[in-house]
Symmetry: C2
Subunit: 310 residues, 2 copies
């Protein structure tokens, strides 16, 4: 077993609970910061039904505010949704020590940048989760499919600490791959996330199958992917057409799937529009790349988000 370490977890939703539950199994100590689910987690822990084997994650410490955590953290895991309304910087500032690394498990692009500016001397380990996991209710998480993580330092590289975390994950059966260019991995995930998240919400809650079965929207999925590739290219990340073809072929074959934005929409929760598509569009604007479809999707999703939050 790797040497133990102290981790503060912010966000006991599905992602944070599953991955920190696994890190605990690998020997890490977890101080979980809860909000509305505090009483449930403190008394019952988090019950995780997983295709890889059910388990109960009982944090070593459960608190209802980060300031109450007793840990000198080696890592702070941020597994909240990537929403402009959540001020991560103010939240973690009081507990961030010189040696604390920030582990960010979130969707989207440019989600690390404000943390990097606020805490330039703290290491940021950026993680992309490929997992189908849902919090059914407080203290109840269901892991239905996948589980792979890709991790690397922001903006690039793989530090000793990042390697340490990857080893912990792999030691308990979580497939965790280190990636020297984590932003490259983020762009590759956006190629799928932007078309299918956007269209699933805008086209009246369409499943991936409904989008791929309609000839017009299958063509548009591909055109959106090409727009994403052109933005990635303007940032220096070259992605070839085979990646697009593979994404489309895999999606056509997969079990009809509800995207994360669609799940948020159906549950009247704010969607990660800015992290996934707004930030992407702003990079395109900065680099003068014309992406008319992405711009239109972003605009319509902004209206939908306005309505969800009004």
């Amino acid at each position: 077993m790797e040497k133990s370490c102290n981790i503060i977890l912010l966000g006991t939703g599905a992602i944070g609970s599953y991955y920190c539950g696994k890190l605990q199994q690998a020997g890490a100590k977890i101080s979980a910061v809860c909000r509305s689910d505090y009483e449930t987690v403190k008394s019952e822990g988090i019950n995780i039904k997983s295709i890889k084997g059910d388990f109960i994650f009982t944090p070593d410490e459960t608190v209802n505010s980060i300031s109450k955590s007793s840990f000198n953290a080696d890592y702070i895991v941020i597994a909240t949704k990537a929403l402009p309304s959540i001020d991560i910087i103010s939240l973690i500032k009081p507990k961030l020590l010189e040696h604390t690394a920030i582990i960010l498990i979130q969707n989207g692009i440019d989600v690390e940048i404000s943390l990097h500016k606020a805490f330039p001397n703290n290491e940021i380990i950026s993680c992309i989760a490929f997992i189908c996991v849902t919090r059914e209710s407080y203290g109840k998480v269901s892991h239905a499919d996948y589980g792979r993580l890709v991790i690397g330092n922001y903006p690039k590289g793989v530090s000793e600490k990042a390697n340490h975390i990857a080893k912990l994950f792999n030691s308990v059966g979580v497939d965790c791959e280190t990636q020297d260019e984590i932003l490259y991995a983020r762009w590759k995930k956006l190629i799928w996330n932007i078309p299918f998240n956007s269209m699933s919400v805008l086209a009246n809650r369409a499943s991936t199958k409904e989008i791929m079965d309609n000839e017009n929207s299958a063509i548009i999925a591909k055109k959106i992917m090409k727009e994403v590739v052109s933005i990635a290219k303007s940032e220096g990340y070259l992605i070839n057409d085979e990646v697009i073809e593979k994404n489309l072929a895999d999606t056509a074959k997969m079990t009809p799937y509800k995207t994360s934005m669609l799940l948020d929409f159906e549950n009247s929760r704010p969607m990660e529009v800015e992290a996934i598509i707004g930030n992407t569009f702003r990079i395109a604007q900065k680099n003068s790349i014309s992406v008319p479809i992405i711009e239109a999707l972003y605009a319509m999703l902004s209206v939908v988000n306005d309505k969800l939050m009004s």
Copy 2:
């Protein structure tokens, strides 16, 4: 009063009932072809609550199939929705005499072309309605706002018969303007119809106000209008930027409004996606005009329509 004439009306929805009710007031005889509303219309007529004064429209003859109409029609009014599933040609063929003119009151573009090809020797009078009118239930129509008609022959010109109809309308207070280039008028209406119909459905049932209040979607509305203008231009219809600015300014000021596509969507009825946006996109393709946003809107609306009809 103008000389009387015999009219067969196909489609006793809101549009057909209102305008043929007014033509009857102007002296025309109306044979109304009903479908599911036949019993109601035959026994009670059509009750029209109108901002311009309520009235009951009792057709001179009410039949449940066009073949049962006793009229030798001077005009056949087609006021059904413009849907690919409705085979107008087969419906009217048995009652179309040499002198019968076809009056088409429908949304969209290229909605006359199949009739023109099928019946090249019959006059087609194409009408665009600017009206806020709804069928609340069988035999009950509510006219909430506007009412203006623009009419002209397809593909161009204004015949004696078209002038006759315009005079009938104007004689009973329906503002009816003849237009030598009816397709020009159709393009001008599409400038508004395409952005606001599409976005109202795709952006989670957004009102015109919600679209104009969001900075991103107000910009997209304008970009979509520019795409429509570029297609119109490729067909020889020049529309200047002031038309776009006026459409946007008027929409920002108007009472929040539900578009016709949104009303259909909310009532789980098929939307006029092909007539309004599919045909527009196909004209762009034919003329090699790039309209990425319209193409994406069309694709997503196709998925929504597939789901409505499945």
